[in-house]
């Protein structure tokens, strides 16, 4: 019988600073058998442990198309995430998973894609975006609409620049609060609707970010003519186990950790207290 609660050691191979409070950790398992058999899907998360501090669910931010390592992009928010930030290259971190469902991939081939992202929400979406970029010919026009609190809160700055250079790919950035030297747009992510055309024709949209941003973005997409089943979003819930047992992430008969975190707007509208999901 496999013990799903038991984590496995991985070594930190590289650490990249994204913003003042966010770092990307590149890690890989020390056990060769595990490393060889490990597989995951875009949008899944893992439970990361620092023994003594505890455990936290963190999305895999690397793409399954790029093998031999895992990346996690983590904001130092509380006890566990701050302890992870104290770790150095060569240190161990303990992992279990991957858990949860995934962003659609096969089903959205041949479509125009709209990624609507807020803050650290780009971490899980980056997994899908890079998977799409590695299979770029299978997709049509792509727009990434990304908003952050301040210019410093924009993650993956290098990659944002790289994506822009790919044909038929647009990246639109905006910040709530500009800082000195920011020449770009100011305003919440839905303000971008004024600047760029949002066309639901043969398109799907995938939204990820803080709950309030998801709510506004999803409503806006619906207004723009997107069908409920073509709006994908992640639902956020406090999680303690990741495997449908501790109860914390429950909504109705679903566990967000196991049946989610990715849902369509249509599914969200089916919940019993749908007005109180976010």
């Amino acid at each position: 019988m496999k013990n799903e609660y038991f984590p496995y050691p991985a070594v930190i191979e590289d650490i990249k600073t994204e913003t003042t409070d966010t770092k990307t950790f590149r890690v890989w398992f020390t056990d060769k058998v595990l490393a060889d058999s490990f597989d995951y899907q875009q949008g899944q998360f893992m439970e990361l442990s620092v023994p003594g501090a505890g455990e936290a669910p963190i999305s895999i931010s690397s793409s399954p198309s790029r093998k031999g390592f895992l990346e996690f992009t983590i904001r130092a928010a509380g006890k566990v995430t701050k302890s992870i930030h104290m770790l150095k290259k060569g240190d161990y971190i303990y992992l279990r998973g991957p858990y949860g469902n995934s962003f659609p991939f096969e089903d959205i081939k041949g479509k125009n894609l709209y990624f609507v992202v807020g803050g650290i929400g780009l971490a899980p979406l980056r997994s899908l975006i890079n998977l799409v970029m590695d299979n770029r010919n299978n997709f049509r026009h792509i727009k990434v609409l990304y908003g952050a609190r301040t210019p410093d809160d924009l993650c993956f700055k290098d990659e944002l620049e790289q994506w822009k250079k790919i044909p038929d790919t647009e990246v639109w950035l905006t910040v709530d609060k500009p800082s000195a030297g920011w020449g770009g747009r100011v305003g919440v992510v839905t303000e971008l609707w004024k600047e760029t055309h949002i066309n639901p024709e043969n398109a799907v949209s995938i939204v990820c970010g803080p709950p309030i941003m998801i709510k506004f973005a999803a409503d806006k997409l619906q207004e723009s003519g997107f069908k409920d089943k073509d709006i994908f979003m992640t639902l956020e819930r406090y999680m303690k186990c990741g495997i449908g047992k501790c109860g914390h992430c429950n909504i109705d008969d679903k566990f967000i950790c196991k049946d989610g975190p990715v849902f369509t707007y249509e599914q969200k509208k089916g919940f019993r207290h749908k007005e109180h999901i976010f």
């Binding site: 013990n3 449908g244 109860g247 196991k258 109180h276």
Partner: protein
């Protein structure tokens, strides 16, 4: 036929045991099993506790064993899902698992609690399987004990058909008959237990089937609290039948102490955290409850169930709507403990009365 517990269910057989022999049976059984049986504490409360192994302590504990009109404060769920349990330990770069799988004889389980145990077994076995719970139940024998009279005035098992006697799911079931018990055999494991300890058991004589039937009917009639359970489940299954206002009213009265969920046989929620002492640490889990504000509060401070009434709704809808939707069984097994433990008089039976009788009683 395979029973719920994955054991072989055989056509029921019946033995008989004198009440006076129970202590000796438990003494003998405790050599092979960790025996859990209701014991009365000096303050009068009854707990389903483990019998000590030490001979003198065992003799003393056996004096406190009670099997009649027993109202154990909490359900026996903590034998398999302890209030606090270690899931692994760590020191330096080593970590090791700490599952528990001792043989357990659970003696004197109320039929409603038996339903609760089987319900939780099913939940923890479902993908992903919970290693700790499942290892604790691996080697388990359940001796149920039917209730002649409801031990709590809040019991309503006859309405939910979860008692006062079990129809299946037990290895053995005691049927109280004056100064002895009829012992119904539910599984091959139950039968083997009797064979192992055959000196305590004898064959019943006369028309015992009739006698047992009469005892059970009388027990059923002794339950005064009756609710329209099946109707409540059908009403809850309709999507938005229960007005928000009902939850808001109950939610205003609730003080969110969590008591009802700790005593509930089918509440399975837990929290997880790490403890460290002198470099050696352990990860532990402990009971948690959806009525607590912190249950859904995220690190950012954002809480999707900040409004109290949403937590009240969760509690009733989990038991009476979503459990039923997923498993075809109600998550409430009608033990009545929530009402008897609630400091402000809230309970599932009252909730059921409110929605089926369409009147305010809370």
């Amino acid at each position: 036929m395979r029973g719920k517990g994955g054991k072989d269910m055989k056509a029921s057989k019946v033995k008989i045991i004198g009440k006076k022999k129970i202590k000796d049976l438990l003494r003998e059984a405790s050599q092979e099993w960790n025996v859990y049986v209701p014991q009365k504490w000096s303050d009068g409360d009854v707990w389903m506790d483990q019998l000590p192994k030490d001979k003198q302590m065992l003799d003393e504990a056996l004096e406190d064993v009670v099997l009649e009109d027993v109202d154990t404060v909490i359900s026996p769920k903590d034998i398999f899902f302890p209030q606090l349990e270690s899931i692994f330990k760590f020191k330096d770069d080593k970590i090791w698992e700490t599952p528990e799988f001792s043989p357990k004889l659970i003696f004197g389980v109320q039929p409603c609690d038996l339903k609760g145990i089987l319900f939780s077994d099913d939940f923890y076995r479902r993908n992903f399987e919970d290693r700790y719970y499942v290892s604790r139940i691996q080697n388990r024998l359940i001796v149920a004990r039917g209730c002649l009279r409801p031990p709590r005035p809040t019991c309503f098992c006859s309405s939910a058909k979860t008692g006062p006697f079990a129809e299946d799911g037990f290895d053995l079931q005691l049927v109280d008959f004056g100064d002895s018990y009829f012992v119904e055999v539910g599984t091959r494991e139950g039968e083997e237990f009797i064979t192992m300890h055959k000196k305590f058991f004898s064959e019943p004589d006369g028309n015992y089937d009739m006698t047992i039937k009469e005892i059970k009917t009388k027990a059923c009639d002794s339950l005064e609290l009756k609710v329209d359970f099946q109707n409540a489940l059908s009403l809850m299954a309709q999507d938005s039948f229960i007005p928000e206002e009902n939850y808001r009213r109950i939610g205003e009265r609730c003080i969110y102490c969590g008591g009802c969920l700790y005593v509930c046989p089918t509440c399975t929620c837990f929290n997880v955290f790490d403890n460290v002492k002198d470099k050696e640490g352990e990860r532990v889990r402990n009971w948690d409850a959806c009525v607590f504000e912190g249950y859904t509060r995220e690190t950012s401070g954002h809480n999707p169930r900040k409004d109290k009434w949403l937590r009240t709704a969760r509690r009733y809808e989990h038991k009476l709507k979503f459990d039923y939707k997923v498993t075809g069984l109600s998550g409430c097994i009608a033990c009545g403990r929530c009402l008897s433990s609630c400091p402000v008089g809230i309970g599932i039976s009252k909730f059921i009365q409110e929605i089926t009788e369409k009147r305010k009683i809370m």
